[in-house]
Point group: C3
Chain length 315, copies 3
């Protein structure tokens, strides 16, 4: 399916939040600034009466719970559509399902689906007063995760221009990595390294304004930020290496940490596999901001939801 | 089980909402009028602190979600009783379960169960300050669906007296059809046609003040309203016809639409089976009000819930 | 795992609610008094914006629903962590899961787990601004159940000093029994009888300040309060007796009721097994306060949650 990366914008305003690809720098900065306002996670009442429908066609605890919490923090109502028992499981098309939920006067859809572009397809299908958020579309993008990662870097590093950032793991299959690379390029990061076995690197990486390192030590050398990706164990056979070999070659351990800058921050979208992609003492160590990322995830999602509601209200 | 169709009334006031059978015209009209007040689905705070317990012994997405949304729109709390993991699955009787939830100070039960009369049985068992709504009791009734259908007809046709209304499909097994026929008769519809294979028509249809047509073209001729029922595919062998034959004989397609009035409205309780009981272009066409029905379902359920809370409060 | 029974207190204030063991009488009385304030179950708004995360590693309808209702009655938000689909089921450790939910800025965890001490372990692990409630930890304790039982006795009997209280059933495996015996001793009940087959009595019962009766008639003779435990049918083979024999020997029936005081109250944590541990006419009879216990469960949990929030706020 051809994905229209511009459908999230209308007259330069964010109407849906679907991809970091093609998203203007000013909007990314707006989100970061708005998230800062919500940083203490206090409940606000401005969006009382709005209804957010959660459509997770793939299971999720962390992302879904964070969206539920963010919805409640802005005093909106959260409706979980039980996909497993829904009519789509009885043969109803996704579009009929969407149209039905739209008719129920929900104001926002949060969508996770294994097929790239599903959230875009839904955004193109719903009426203009509904906002759609992409909570992960297959191997394509996971833009709210990237936004909370940008917020994390901003909080801990202040700005992006001088940063050397290393993303380590299965770049090929990671929607998080794709969104991250778009965001970091847009925000003007000095250098983006991708690190991992050749088999887990996309062929077109040269178009992505990144440097590729097969060797972990070189890849994280003098980095300001290291972002470890979650290892999808079932995909390791694609790379023809064992979990043990992977940890030997790409696990972030204490000795490798010495190669990065002293004030490097270590990030991970979670849940972490201790002893698989990261050593426990690093995950829990002073440079780790992994749990901060979770907290920021609430503020950032509150920010994105409130901006979308504001932009729909204004139109 | 003998069902007491009058238990929903006390001194002429609606205390439960269980069946359209025996429901006075004035109450049906009250519900329609109240739903009109809620038509914009704005959130109201009058019923803050009330608790609605959802007891769905049969799976449902559409009806249950609509009740949850309606509950939130009137600012009451919605509690979903997880039947699959509940004590009834460990041998607790339904009455002990009901008494326990009653003791939890829930104010309203919304019940779906495969056994006809279950909601009535519960209404007879609970204390007088609790309201029970029937969200479908086996093949008996689905009264909130019928009420939203009445609201739909009223919105689009203004009144019932001059209308010719055709209900098409498996009349025999449909609780929606039963509730519809009661409601349309009470509201004084001019002519009610039922249309479908003989095997899917109840033996006692002559007592229902309807006209039966085995032939679809005759049955929808000059109709003002066509209500298509959802085909329960697993019951087609009862009628000894294949899905293809069914669609040929009873599918609502564009050419058959020419037989009805030009301003006919097409209704369906959803989810629709495209190409089984209805042609896609008809379901999505200008005469279809299928998605309007979904929207009205929120207002109508808000109306029924608020009337019941008011009547319990007054007593 | 060694359980620290004092971790719930800090400077004499209740910061978590984990066990009745070692809980000062004054705090038990505070909870009873606070529950009395919430007795009409009216909604209060003082705790708006607080978030309660429910972590039920064992299934539950009654306890979990009661916590959800209590949370809503104090206007806090309730988040259900879906353990079955959570990352712990994919190998994430419970401590990583807890740290993640903590990072989501939840203010309270309600935990049920099959391993004794899990709630204590979590309380030791979370930051000092989070309160943990034990909703059942294996065969150890079920302290909120014991508190609602104390509230029930207080409401119906006024005080504890003159009471003879009989607890009947599988004392050995019952976390409810353990919490009850601690609470009744702390509150100064005159006599606590435990009644059941020898095989279902803990070896160390002599240290518990109770009297053991193998014979039911002796055990409930002249009792003011009889607390029947739920029979865990799967454990009956441990006692080498059949369900029928059990009912013959330990079932609470009408004739045995004559042995207790005329104004005895009959309690049961629910759900009851009619004809297994209790005769239907006794469960539904005038001396039964089983459904009252359910109602009180809301007030008592509102009380415990609000005290914990107050104590965390004050610090």
């Amino acid at each position: 399916m051809k994905i229209n990366h511009d459908i999230q914008l209308s007259d330069g305003k964010l109407k849906h939040f679907l991809n970091i690809n093609n998203l203007p720098k000013s909007i990314i900065e707006d989100i970061i600034n708005r998230a800062e306002e919500f940083h203490d996670n206090s409940k606000i009442t401005k969006y009382t009466g709005k209804v957010v429908a959660s459509l997770f066609f793939e299971p999720s605890t962390r992302t879904k719970t964070t969206f539920e919490l963010a919805t409640k923090k802005i005093s909106s109502d959260f409706i979980n559509i039980d996909i497993a028992n829904s009519s789509t499981s009885k043969g109803e098309s996704i579009i009929d399902m969407i149209k039905t939920i739209e008719a129920m006067k929900c104001n926002m859809f949060v969508v996770r689906h294994s097929v790239p572009g599903t959230a875009h397809f839904i955004a193109e299908s719903v009426s203009s007063d509904i906002a759609v958020i992409n909570a992960g579309d297959g191997s394509n993008e996971h833009p709210t995760q990237a936004m909370l990662d940008m917020f994390t870097i901003k909080k801990h590093k202040g700005s992006f221009e001088d940063l050397k950032i290393s993303i380590v793991g299965d770049i090929l299959h990671s929607r998080v990595a794709k969104s991250l690379i778009f965001a970091l390029n847009t925000l003007g990061a000095k250098q983006i390294n991708i690190v991992g076995p050749k088999k887990l690197i996309p062929d077109n990486y040269t178009e992505m304004n990144v440097k590729y390192f097969e060797d972990m030590s070189e890849g994280i050398s003098y980095s300001d930020v290291i972002i470890m990706l979650r290892l999808q164990k079932e995909r390791m056979h694609d790379a023809l290496i064992s979990l043990d070999t992977y940890y030997d070659e790409y696990g972030l351990n204490q000795s490798r940490m010495q190669l990065a800058k002293k004030d490097v921050i270590v990030m991970h979208p979670g849940p972490i596999n201790r002893g698989v992609e990261i050593e426990s003492s690093v995950a829990d160590g002073p440079n780790s901001v992994i749990l901060n990322q979770v907290s920021y995830g609430i503020s950032v999602r509150m920010a994105i939801m409130s901006i979308l509601f504001d932009n729909h209200h204004a139109s």
